[in-house]
């Protein structure tokens, strides 16, 4: 602290003893961003996060081995990805799409639900929330940092699946020319950026869920309750999405366009579903982000 600094402070406020500097300290950009950095650090240094990422990374290995062992019966596989599994035996790169298609409906949202659901409620439960707020972190800033860390986790989780899938696919199956869903064939060099794009789409598909989890997290003082609520919500919404009778509301469910990333594997790429997906995620972020902010900024912190 410079001398000129403390002198100007001494002028600004009457102080009994010169030893204590008083007056306001300016907020700095580096200081403002420090919480975001620290939040990322906190998220990814937790054993829980690492275990979740480890489970996600193990998933493609498991799928790859199963496909390798059962090459005689390549049929089967659930929901939106039957063709991926059949293709995987021809080209290891398709294990990335298979693994993401399997992980997206259940495993990825569950881990995101745990991280986002616990983000505020967990801190309230341990009491660290009150110390962050009197630091003062600023309620809006803290929420923004939590949301950013949640998004970062979505990216990391998707990357964990995609990268191990690529490695496993390359190890177990041949790589080479890729036959797209539309029947066209492209080279591996052209296919890899598409795989990256697919992973990015999957990660962004989870953004709405982060906002929902954050909102749920501001409602309760129990981390477990918030995590469970978020995960149950994901499952319920996907069940609702499977009823044709609910056609009127299905397009507004945040999981509805999740598997639209498959359209990236056509030539030309078919963006309609993905744009709808991105718009829907943005809408969920806006609605639940505002709700979380409204709730959190006015709430009495008595835990």
């Amino acid at each position: 602290m410079s001398q000129a600094d403390s002198m100007s402070r001494a002028e600004a406020l009457p102080v009994l003893s010169g030893a204590v500097t008083s007056g306001r300290r300016p907020q700095t950009a580096a200081g403002f961003l420090a919480l975001f950095r620290n939040e990322l650090h906190l998220t990814f240094r937790r054993m829980r996060t690492l275990v979740l990422l480890g489970i996600l990374a193990a998933l493609p290995i498991l799928i790859g081995v199963i496909i390798k062992v059962n090459t005689d019966s390549p049929r089967g596989g659930g929901g939106g990805a039957p063709s991926f599994i059949a293709q995987t035996t021809q080209n290891g790169l398709f294990l990335v799409f298979t693994a993401l298609a399997v992980a997206l409906p259940v495993f990825l949202p569950m881990t995101v639900g745990v991280v986002a659901g616990d983000s505020v409620a967990g801190e309230a439960a341990t009491g660290t929330l009150r110390y962050l707020l009197v630091a003062p972190a600023g309620r809006t800033r803290l929420l923004a940092a939590k949301f950013t860390a949640g998004l970062a986790f979505c990216l990391a989780a998707t990357a964990a699946v995609a990268v191990t899938a690529l490695a496993t696919g390359a190890a177990l199956f041949p790589l080479g020319k890729v036959t797209l869903l539309s029947g066209d064939t492209i080279g591996l060099g052209e296919a890899l950026p598409r795989a990256l794009l697919v992973a990015a789409m999957v990660a962004l598909s989870l953004a709405g869920l982060v906002a929902i989890g954050l909102f749920v997290s501001t409602l309760t003082g129990s981390g477990i309750a918030a995590m469970a609520t978020t995960v149950v919500l994901v499952i319920t919404v996907q069940i609702l999405d499977s009823f044709p009778q609910l056609d009127a509301i299905r397009p507004f469910l945040f999981t509805h366009y999740w598997l639209s990333f498959a359209d990236l594997l056509r030539a030309p790429m078919y963006w309609d579903g993905m744009l709808k997906n991105l718009g829907l995620q943005a809408a969920y972020i806006a609605v639940f982000g505002s709700a979380a902010w409204a709730r959190f900024s006015s709430r009495d912190i008595s835990a």
């Binding site: 406020l13 009994l16 008083s22 009495d300 008595s302």
Partner: protein, 349 residues
């Protein structure tokens, strides 16, 4: 101990109101002060009613002078922590105003709290982080804290509370005393104008209590105002210059500790084997409420003490009373509390 020259009188709240027009307890600064008066904390009619309808704090008028070590006293459940939470902007008052460092709370949280260190209702830590990383996180939460000096300030704070050796250990392995120290360290990451400590010696052994009290005195000597809540009377008597007493959500009294203790009137105590004789002499010299004990007589001194005492002593000796001991026993804060509230201190509201 830093005694501030105090001219203020003891204000007693009738129905929670009436702390206005209190003389500033410290000499006015030579240059114009931006603060209204020179109170670091000031509340007017501060009230919190929880959703269940429970009235936790009722019309509180508090004034904490700058530079004081202010004891906030009351049994468990008397509204101390709720008051502190309102002062720190964690919960919104139902009605009334709270001003901290001259700005109203909770509106000015962002500009006030960086200048305030706080320990609220015990420490809360991230068990999976080391003590050092816990401090770094709380420091990062303050957007006015300089990240370039963070490492140094964290080490200094650790050193100050004697945790340097255990700084690398995960906080979940800390004892309660160590957690308490780490909480205190996070309050000391910056030079603060105000330190709010809610029951800082809870769960500590006598040695730990002594260390914390020494630290409080040290911080106060640097010019930081300390607001210390406690349910332990002797803690307040040991470290505080001023005190306020809460009971069932209301402020019973506030003033300097000396004034409060003086409210519990000192009693004249004579130690002698000649109890009956001594009692007669005392009664003859306007000593009221004479109580005869075993080898002692005590009573309430009617006239102002200092002048009357030598005469009384001489009178006793003249009457042939064998005086073994003669003196005034000063009242304690506990006596004052009982006198003020007519109830024991351990009553939970």
């Amino acid at each position: 101990m830093t005694e501030t020259p105090v001219t203020g009188d003891v204000t007693e709240s009738a129905g929670g109101r009436g702390a206005e027009a209190r003389p500033a307890p410290v000499p006015a600064p030579s240059h114009p002060a931006p603060l209204p008066g020179d109170d670091v904390i000031r509340t007017q009619g501060l009230t919190k009613r929880f959703r269940g309808g429970q009235l936790a704090v009722d019309g509180l008028d508090l004034a904490v002078p700058r530079g004081s070590v202010f004891g906030f006293l009351g049994p468990n459940g008397s509204g101390k922590t709720t008051t502190i939470r309102m002062l720190m902007g964690l919960i919104a008052p139902t009605s009334g105003v709270a001003t901290v460092l001259g700005e109203s709370m909770p509106q000015s949280v962002a500009s006030v709290l960086p200048r305030v260190g706080a320990l609220i209702e015990g420490p809360a830590l991230y068990g999976f982080l080391s003590g050092r990383d816990n401090l770094a996180r709380f420091d990062a939460a303050d957007s006015t804290a300089d990240p370039r000096t963070r490492r140094r300030r964290v080490e200094e704070a650790l050193e100050r509370v004697g945790l340097t050796a255990a700084a690398g250990k995960k906080a979940r392995a800390y004892s309660l005393g160590m957690k308490q120290r780490l909480g205190l360290a996070s309050a000391l990451l910056q030079p603060r104008e105000l330190l709010v400590l809610d029951e800082p010696t809870n769960g500590l052994d006598p040695q730990g209590m002594r260390e914390i009290r020494a630290l409080v005195r040290e911080v106060a000597a640097e010019g930081t105002t300390v607001f210390l809540s406690s349910h332990l009377l002797d803690e307040i008597e040991h470290v505080c210059t001023h005190a306020a007493v809460m009971s069932r959500g209301r402020l019973v009294v506030q003033g300097t500790v000396a004034e409060l203790a003086a409210r519990a009137q000192g009693r004249l105590v004579v130690r002698t084997p000649d109890v009956a004789q001594a009692a007669e002499v005392l009664a003859a010299h306007q000593v009221a409420d004479v109580v005869r004990g075993e080898d002692r007589v005590d009573g309430e001194l009617g006239a102002p003490g200092d002048a009357a005492l030598p005469k009384l002593c001489a009178a006793l000796v003249e009457a042939g009373v064998r005086v073994h001991g003669f003196g005034l026993e000063r009242g304690t804060l506990e006596d004052a509390f009982v006198a003020l509230t007519g109830e024991g201190f351990d009553v939970a509201g």
